[in-house]
Amino acid sequence: MKLELADAKKWIDLFIEELKENKSNLNELDTAIGDGDHGTNMDRGASAVVESFAKKDPENLTDLYKATAFAMIQKVGGASGPLYGTAFLDMSKAVKEENLELGELVQVGTDGIKRRGQSDVGMKTMIDVWQPVSDALKAESLNQSVIDEALSKVKGLVATKGRASYLEEKSKGHIDPGAQSSAYLFESLIKVIGE
């Protein structure tokens, strides 16, 4: 399946809402194994996306993902800004020629994160949500339990990238904040496309 502009816009809008609602939750997760700002960072990005859309309504998918990317890149900072920013920027570039299948599209975003973060699955980062979601979308089988499972797997991992990695073994038993914000992203997607 492919997302058309209206639905894609709805997806991002819902994500923004989730980020605003869960700011302190994400901060708490980041306090446990990071530096306590992931909620604040993503909230700043969310506000920037809203502002960007208000200034100029995206006219096509490229615009939509690009505006999202730029807002994240320019306002989030930290690790998550360039990571989400790169994911959406690469997705924006990918849909310039033709609208991709959702699974392909999210895989492009996932690959962008891997490239930017020099990281891969199993390192207890947002990738551990993005990759299984990409796979499920490609198999047209994305549902809540895919996300839940991904999160519970993440919880058991020892971090080897990002701030949480300094804690080594002690990072186990905590949900990675970037994985959680990514879970909000794809839960928003499910709300748009159904399970």
């Binding site: 306090t31 604040t40 990238k161 080594e168």
Partner: protein, 330 residues
């Protein structure tokens, strides 16, 4: 939490504005950013490789305090403990490029590395030659496949001093990058905390220590360290840190430089007492210290604590360290 601030969201812009207003002969702010650039007369007189650093705020005087003749060309301030964004770094790179390229000095945190990387890509698209070095002097974290790698902490100030002096003397971009990497490889730091920092947006200390406890091996963002132990006399603390750091140097001959760094809320009095103990023990160990520096150089908000940096230094580095600079805070 008691802090002398207004709104939490305005901390960084207000801080930068205060710094620029009180030092307008030295630095200026790039409009629309929290990046600070050299504003002295010598800046345009002496064309050199631009040196740009930056990172999350909360480590003052790092980095903006080190902008000036003989040190940084520009510094980019992110939110508290959060890397600045690529567009701000990009503006700083553009502002200091004098046709000889720009070197980025980046502390080893994923956010900093990625944001500086993106800025580098943006500047390269403008045909500006950009290189970067990643400072990772904190030996409390072991560099292995299991971590992000060692963190960049207080040694950053020494790297900025040496690179800044070398750049002023006319060294090329590639040579500066090589020099920077060599300096970083020979710079090792370890820190202790008596009391954690309070991030303004969080409102309480990052972790709790009992009234007789200290934490060994902390980072500059309230990252916890490798051990919590009872506080010891300064002599013993110095001994513990020296042993840990020297174990990491294979060759203990030649020249050394040290930095005793206060974490923000530790009085100079204690820093000098600690420095005295460090130097006494290094004399006993026949380590030849040719340069030493004491003060709040790389802080962590209101953290109470101290870090020790030891650098095995070429004699030219010692000269670079000693050269006078015109900055707010070196």
């Amino acid at each position: 939490m008691k802090k002398i601030i207004n709104n939490v969201e305005d901390i960084v812009p207000e801080m930068i504005s205060g710094l620029v207003k009180t030092n307008s002969d030295l630095v200026r702010q790039i409009e629309g950013t929290t990046a600070v650039v050299r504003n002295d007369a010598k800046f345009s007189d002496n064309k050199q490789v631009g040196i740009v650093s930056g990172g999350g705020s909360g480590h003052e005087p790092l980095h903006a305090g080190y902008v000036g003749d003989g040190m940084l060309s520009a510094a980019v301030a992110g939110e508290v403990f959060t890397s600045p964004t690529p567009d701000q770094i990009y503006e700083a790179i553009k502002a200091v490029d004098q046709g000889k390229g720009v070197l980025l000095i980046v502390k080893n945190y994923s956010g900093d590395v990625m944001n500086f990387d993106m800025a580098k890509e943006m500047a390269e698209a403008d045909d500006i030659e950009v290189q970067s070095i990643i400072v990772d002097d904190d030996i409390a974290v072991k560099n292995s496949e299991f971590t992000q790698g060692k963190r960049g902490v207080a040694g950053t100030a020494l790297v900025e001093k040496i690179i800044g002096a070398a750049a002023r003397s006319g060294m090329s971009l590639n040579d500066l990058k090589d020099l920077g990497q060599k300096v970083i490889d020979n710079t090792k730091t370890i820190g202790i905390a008596l009391h954690a920092a309070t991030v303004p947006a969080v409102g309480h200390p990052g972790f709790e220590l009992k009234d007789d406890e200290i934490e060994y091996g902390i980072g500059i963002h309230n990252e916890r360290g490798y051990a919590v132990e009872k506080i010891q006399p300064s002599k013993e603390l110095a001994h513990e840190l020296i042993e840990k750091i020297l174990a990491d140097f294979d060759d203990k001959s030649g020249n050394f430089a040290i930095l005793v760094n206060g974490m923000g809320a530790t009085p100079l009095m204690e820093q000098y007492i600690f420095a005295n103990d460090v130097l006494n023990e290094l004399v006993d160990k026949k380590i030849d210290v040719k340069f030493s520096k004491v003060g709040n150089l790389v802080t962590s908000l209101d953290m109470q604590g101290i870090s020790l940096t030891i650098m095995k230094a070429d004699s030219s580095w010692i000269n670079y360290l000693k050269e006078p600079v015109t900055t707010i805070a070196w």
